[in-house]
Amino acid sequence: MPDLLIELFSEEIPARMQPGARDALRRLVTDGLVEAGLTHGGAQAFSTPRRLALAVEKVGAESPTRHEERKGPRVDAPDKAVEGFLRATGLTRDDLEVRDDKKGRVYFARITHPGRPADEIVAKVVEQTIRQFPWPKSMRWGRGSLRWVRPLHSILCILSDEAGARTVALEVDGIRAGETTRGHRFMAPAPFAVTGFDDYQARLRRAHVMLDAQARADHIRAEAESMAFAQGLELVEDRALLDEVAGLVEWPVVLMGEIGEGFLDLPPEVLQTSMREHQKFFSVRNPATGQIEKFVTVANRETADRGATILAGNRKVLAARLSDARFFWENDLRVVNEKGLEGMAEGLADVTFHAKLGSQADRVARIEALAREIARKVGAKPDLAAEAARVCKADLQSEMVGEFPELQGIMGRYYAQAAGHDDGVPEACEEHYRPLGPNDEVPAAPVSVAVALADKLDTLTGFWAIDEKPTGSKDPFALRRAALGVIRLVLGNGSRINLSGDGMVRHVLATANLLGIKEFRLRRSRLNYEQAFRLLSKTEPSDLSDDPSDVDTSARDEQIRSQAEGLANDLLAFFHDRLKVHLRDQGIRHDVIDACLYDHGSDEKRADSDDLTLLVKRAQALSDFLKTDDGDNLLQGFKRANNILTQAEEADGVEYSFGPDPRLAETAEERAVFAALDRAEQAIAPAMQAEDFAAAMRAMADLRAPIDAFFEAVQINTDNQVVRRNRLNLLHRIREACLQVADLTRIEG
């Protein structure tokens, strides 16, 4: 069975598109072969800047012959129908068979699809692959109409076996497939023929092309690391850059150079970002000082002067770039020294955050107010949290962040330090954006946490207030990420915040009022944030309405408040949804969370369900507990009691919640349940108080044995109605005891 080798040789393919292109090439070709009935062995795809290649082992020599039988019209059907059938099958009337069928005598066609040779199938599959290739962006060139990522120059397509290699006859828009390729653009440009994959890879290597992107990346990393190591330095790891650079060269030559003396005092993040973004340089760090002292660049060729000219050129370009960076840095520091960070932030008033949510300055004011409100909940001083919030977005106005947006926050930290802020304020400038993704670390410093929470809660309440919620796959303002950020901030720090009360409801109202969002029908004269915030505390009389004809201002107030609460509830539900996703990833089941989220027998959520830390503590304890033997005991004991009770309550139409009387107990088993309940309740109450849910559930689990013995010994539905009611009331007491941690009826299985 022959091996197949395909190479699509083009002008330079963008590095970022190469991994996707390798996958697509392998998938389209192998799927195409299989679909055409051709078997094949392993398939491996490769890319360099100028070529996409695919090697498929052991391709079948031909596809099998297939026979198909198709039922046609009845013999007495109109001619038109028969002719149609003949056209569809490509047969003549003589070829048809006539058979008896339920419906009468019917024409049958036996069609033979002869097997096709591999060459023919490969030619077709390759052409289809080229024509349908899913490039993220493609183009035409010259007079042609073919689309490829950049002009496609040649196609190599050969099948090779012991007998030798043969070119697959194939032509796409005037490009005829052959058996030749080319080496490195500058170092070995002459075309050469190949006989199979091993030959191809070996000859390419001699022609200064490393075919495998991973091999190029490994080579670059190893060379760079050893060069740095030889000088007592270390390479700053950058996986994404490594992959990109490996996609930019066919023959990587690693060169290390000096960053000019005059730039070494720039913040390392600035050096690193400027070098990476503009030059695709790696940073080389002095492990003793943490300073970045050198750079590594990867050239695409060897030269007679061992890269001296190339390195000198790169150094010069870097110097020009870093001069710009230093210029920004010095200008920014001058602004900060003259006017403080608040001065730098002045321009935020002219920057629109969102047309309906005001300017960045408006937003900063809201974040400041909210950060002050929630500071104590996370152990921060309110004044410090407010100070940090006031300056946390200032660096968006700096020249450095204007040039390098990815340095936002980091420059804020440097400039805050320069402006004399301390006590966690500079760190908050950097950390309040975090966590940026599901794997990003969560800040722990109290001031950072306060500002980070306020920032995200303001984003969420704001977009909720203007009804811009995420739908389906659309989440243009990254609100899911913001909600997950809040969840991780709260959980990661064990913060005890009632999101609705402490954060959202009043913030929604204050925001709506500040922005004059009509739907809330707030009065026209804007309150300041604190006034609006205070007005929500229900004890104070207020007049939130802007309608002068309103006589009953308290009724209108109530309406506006309930509107804000509705919004906050909706947002809380969004948090709960995100939380479920988050906890599912940590192995906590959906039904376990629901059991902790809802009140028993109701669609209402528990009043404390906006305290995410408590909610998760409960869910975690329940999840862990259910995996133990005691967990099974708890569940079985509870269910047995609850099922009988529920049936009786439904049948009788009453709730047996009067409290059982131990004096009416008739048997020892019954009395034992009373005693067990007394013990359990005594243990549960303090455990619940201490939020030691495991201890509470252990106490509940101890009820199982007495419950089982009780059911063995006594009949609930006895004729004595007094005794029966007492027993049902006893079951009710069991249910109440067991429902304190979670609504166990929601646990599946």
């Binding site: 330079e12 060139w141 002009p151 930019l248 060269v249 000219t309 020009a320």
Partner: protein, 310 residues
């Protein structure tokens, strides 16, 4: 292989070598367009000639103005007035990359010593309603050219596709000549009777235009000029196709001049900082609408292929 005399000695030497090289490749060497533009692409020899079915090959230098880049002649690399060298060939020849590398050799960049790379950089001009795919070409980590296969201009698909090359002449020449500050670059031969540096030629104008661009240009007047150019462009295109004697003459080029004007005035207003972020999009949209109409009109002309290509 490379000897001292192979290397250009001055800014104008680089320019002349590029002209000679591309003339040798069969391009019509044209002269700069006589209007203020932001880039060589605006020259009708590129914008309009990229449209329609007729073959085309041109090379020219184009003085370009970017008011926001003015630094009073102090910055070693930034200028509000600079030169672009532009090559456009339709249809794009299959060996355009090789031809381009030849042009680098012509100005003394020996690819045996340098690292030349084609790094993805797609080109888009929102004001021209144009885009293409290509690269920025790096020489030892420095961007020396933009290389683009035009896909659309003025909202029309380009067919055939033009290959376009743009060289930032000052930057390229500084590199080739080993100069660190643009103003110190020899403009003519250093051993000429009257050797002139780039600064001798342009320092004064950089200072004057920087001040004018940033502080003095009358924004109200500019806004009026913008409206005038916009109105005139529409008026020209609305004129009947036949003139008084009955000859059919579609005036795509005069209309396009007004589009160029509007675009440059927009750049000046932008430099003055009087255009807000939201307005900015609206202005760009207005210029694009003009470019689109001019492209439509050009396709109705003989040069644009109306009536078929012989």
């Amino acid at each position: 292989m490379t000897t001292q005399t192979d290397r250009p000695q001055s800014f104008q030497d680089v320019l002349l070598r590029l002209q000679t090289y591309w003339a040798g490749q069969g391009c019509a060497v044209m002269q700069p367009y006589d209007m203020e533009v932001g880039a060589g692409t605006f020259h009708p020899a590129t914008t309009l000639r990229a449209l329609g079915p007729r073959d085309w090959a041109a090379a020219y230098v184009q003085p370009s103005r970017r008011p926001t880049d003015g630094r009073y002649g102090d910055n070693p690399n930034r200028l509000q007035h600079y030169y672009q060298f532009q090559v456009i060939i339709k249809p794009s020849p299959p060996d355009l990359q090789a031809l381009y590398l030849g042009s680098l050799r012509a100005i003394g960049i020996d690819d045996a010593l340098h690292d030349i790379r084609f790094v993805e950089d797609d080109w888009e001009s929102p004001t021209l309603g144009a885009w293409g795919l290509g690269w920025e070409v790096w020489c030892d980590g420095m961007e020396v050219s933009q290389f683009t296969y035009f896909q659309q201009v003025g909202g029309h698909d380009c067919h055939p596709v033009s290959g376009e090359l743009t060289y930032g002449l000052e930057r390229l020449a500084m590199y080739v000549l080993g100069v660190d500050h643009v103003m110190n670059m020899p403009y003519n031969a250093p051993d000429a009777a009257h050797p002139l540096s780039y600064g001798d030629v342009f320092r004064q104008t950089e200072r004057e235009y920087s001040r004018w661009n940033f502080d003095v240009a009358d924004t109200d007047l500019l806004l009026r000029h913008f409206e005038d150019a916009e109105a005139e462009c529409a008026r020209i295109l609305d004129a009947p196709e036949a003139d008084a004697t009955g000859r059919r003459i579609v005036m795509a080029h005069p209309a396009y001049d007004q589009c160029i004007k509007a675009s440059h005035i927009f750049n000046l207003l932008d430099a003055r900082g009087v255009i807000s972020v939201t307005e900015r999009q609206a202005y760009i949209g207005r210029v694009r609408a003009l470019a689109r109409k001019c492209a439509d009109a050009f396709l109705q002309t003989e040069a644009g292929g109306a009536g078929g290509v012989v």
